[in-house]
């Protein structure tokens, strides 16, 4: 749906590559920085303009924050050399074909051995090129499990898989609120994949599912119509989710129209961002990913302190997008150290699991045991169920059959 909108929008944006080209003209070479540390480029290719810019910059911020920390602490040692990272970013405006083009350009200019890409479409496009010369490690920020099916030996999937959430979410919500599920999710490919799984799981438990009243969260001006329609089926639980802020508008509209049940929230939406739009009371009874600032792990307080120390107390809250990529950069530094190389992606990839297990306490924002053969960085995942205004931890089990190395 919405194809004509997208086409026209794409046409509207046709002027942007020029801006992009101009902003890239400033990139230079140089292997040793002014601080005497050897500079190793790390690539980031993601949306930095347009509607997804907010998301892209969150991911980029995590990468940059870790690189800055490493540089400030005097770099890390690889085979007797002191090394720091330089983050080289390119805008792909969330378009997979732009991702591939930007990656090629990045390889020509700086030849990074690691490139971060924060969306499944772009990741799949890059998986076609990263195993040919010049090879590089693809740090994939997407919870879409299909990126693992490529069996790409140079991919590391950073976030938890989204297919781990539905069982525990349905379990909690059906038990607390009842058998009827209403659907108002976003209609992106990711939203649809989520909807299919949550619907299947809800039915498997004997619940009934109303019609799909999903709308594109990025192009919808007013959610009241879709919400009214979904509420006419008298659901006990509403499945919602897309980017956090529009998700909050959907929740607000549902509460305004008198919905008293709970919200089953897709992992894309974050409670800590939603509470800037709606009061906590509107979220009562919801289930979703645990707010990053209070994630129940040893490394979280260190990360949060460092984040606010760097960006100021009034800055937007750190989400998992920032935290996961932040940890990943530190993880890569350790893997490079263990592998004794900053340029051989295969050697670095081979040490990621070991590096994950040896992370010091202040970097244990997520407890990781290692990497599966397919490249998934397996971690303990926590969700939050909101009860009387408090976040209650719900543990998400590790997918069955995950063998880590």
């Amino acid at each position: 749906m919405g194809l004509p909108v997208q086409r026209t929008a794409a046409w509207l944006r046709a002027a942007l590559p020029l801006t992009l080209a101009l902003s890239l003209a400033g990139c230079g070479e140089g292997s040793a920085g002014a601080d005497g540390l050897e500079v190793v480029p790390i690539g980031f290719v993601g949306p930095l303009s347009g509607g997804a810019a907010y998301y892209g910059r969150n991911v980029q911020r995590g990468i940059q924050m870790a690189a800055d920390e490493i540089a400030e602490s005097g770099g890390f040692e690889v085979e007797g050399r002191r090394v720091r990272f330089e983050i080289v970013s390119m805008d792909d405006r969330y378009l997979p074909y732009e991702t591939a083009t930007a990656v090629r350009r990045l390889l020509q200019q700086r030849r990074p051995s690691v490139i971060f890409v924060p969306h499944a479409g772009g990741i799949r496009a890059v998986q076609e090129i990263n195993i040919n010369e010049p090879k590089f490690l693809l740090a994939a920020y997407s919870s879409e499990p299909s990126i693992l099916e490529a069996e790409n030996p140079l991919t590391v999937m950073l976030p938890p898989r989204f297919d781990g959430y539905q069982e525990p979410f349905v379990d909690v919500m059906m038990g607390r609120f009842g058998q009827r599920l209403g659907l108002i999710p976003t209609t992106t490919a990711y939203g649809r994949a989520w909807t299919e799984r949550v619907t299947a799981e809800w039915r498997r438990r004997g619940g009934t599912v109303g019609g799909d009243h999903g709308v594109d969260y990025n192009t919808t001006t007013d959610f009241t119509g879709a919400v009214s329609r979904a509420l006419a089926d008298r659901p006990d639980v509403l499945f919602v989710g897309g980017p956090s802020q529009p998700t909050a508008l959907v929740i607000r509209a549902a509460r305004e129209q008198g919905f008293r049940g709970g919200f089953l929230v897709m992992d894309q939406a974050k409670f800590e961002e939603m509470v800037t739009i709606v009061p906590m009371s509107a979220l009562e009874g919801s289930i979703g990913v645990y707010p990053q600032e209070d994630y129940p792990t040893a490394g979280t307080p260190f990360f949060v302190e460092s984040y606010y120390g760097r960006y100021g107390e009034d800055f937007q809250v750190p989400t998992s997008e920032v935290a996961i990529t932040y940890q990943a950069v530190h993880l890569l530094a350790r893997a490079m150290q263990l592998a004794g190389t900053t340029s051989d992606p295969e050697a670095i990839r081979a040490r990621v699991g070991e590096a994950a297990r040896g992370m010091p306490e202040e970097l244990r924002i997520f407890e990781t045991d290692g990497v599966t053969d397919q490249g998934h960085l397996v971690r303990a995942v926590y969700a939050a169920h909101i009860l009387n205004g408090e976040f209650v931890v719900v543990e998400i089990p590790v997918p069955a059959g995950s063998v880590v190395h």
Partner: protein
């Protein structure tokens, strides 16, 4: 039945939003024959001015709307003076490209000042009005009322004031207007300022219902274009009727078919109108 009535109310509220945005667009098109894509950016600017007034400066809501109107009217006038006036007499393609350029420029400027974050404009009207099982929020009710008031005021301006009649005259026949002694440049300037006023009213009233971010105008301006073509390019009643028609069609199609199709409705209606009545529903005059 309750659902139908509820969706009727929802559709009228959405239609008020659409009409408010489409009005400024159709006005500029009528006078200058410029498809002003930058209208979306004016709408965005209005929302940001209201945001700054209400949050950083702590003003009241009415003051915020007035400030937004003043700032964006000025922005509209400057836009005409700096960008479109030098293009007078050139091919419309130039003006269209310039309009796109202004859109990107203003979006980029907002991005530099406020960042890509989603902002929310607080509203003093956060209650809900319920009657016989039908709900509407106070802010939406305000949008509906304000839209009607704005439309009436615009009608009065166009029909009863000299400058308004000049705008209409110029929309009907630019050369004729020039011949009877109308200062077409001044009228063009005023028209842009007026479109800024309408965009600011729309932006500051709608902002509390939606999210404020640099590209917020790009989506709604496309809808507004569809409405303007639907209603007849340059037609004020066309923009009003087109706005409500589109909103009701989207809401009802969403309710009785599927909301996934509601985005498609706008373009299906567009194709239908272009086939059946290519000049739009209200093609005759302003």
């Amino acid at each position: 039945m309750t659902l139908f009535l509820q969706q009727l109310v929802n559709g009228v509220a959405l239609g008020s939003v659409y009409s408010l945005v489409a009005l400024g667009l159709t006005l500029v098109y009528g006078v200058l024959k410029v498809p002003n894509f930058a209208h979306g950016a004016l709408y965005m600017a209005g929302a940001y001015v209201a945001f700054v007034m209400l949050t950083s400066l702590g003003s009241g809501y009415v003051v915020a709307i007035v400030a937004a109107v003043a700032v964006v009217a000025l922005l509209g006038a400057v836009m005409e003076w700096v960008v479109f006036r030098p293009l007078e007499g050139k091919s419309p393609v130039h003006a269209m490209i310039a309009a796109l350029g202004v859109l990107f420029f203003l979006e980029g400027t907002a991005d530099v000042i406020w960042g890509a974050d989603f902002r929310q404009v607080p509203t003093p009207l956060d209650g809900v009005v319920s009657m016989a099982g039908i709900n509407i929020t106070e802010q939406r009710l305000l949008v509906v009322v304000a839209a009607v008031v704005t439309m009436l005021a615009l009608y009065w301006l166009l029909k009863r004031t000299l400058i308004g009649m000049s705008i209409e005259a110029m929309a009907q026949d630019r050369e004729g207007a020039l011949l009877v002694g109308i200062d077409t440049r001044r009228v063009a300037l005023v028209t842009f300022a007026l479109s800024g006023v309408l965009a600011a009213i729309a932006g500051s009233l709608i902002a509390p219902l939606v999210l404020v971010f640099p590209t917020m105008g790009a989506v709604i301006v496309l809808k507004a274009f569809v409405i303007v073509i639907l209603g007849g390019m340059g037609s004020v009643p066309g923009a009003i009727v087109g706005g409500y028609l589109l909103a009701l069609a989207e809401t009802m199609a969403g309710t009785y078919v599927a909301f996934a199709f509601s985005e498609l409705i706008a373009f299906a209606m567009l194709v239908l109108v272009l086939v059946v009545r290519p000049t739009g529903l209200f093609a005759k005059g302003v």
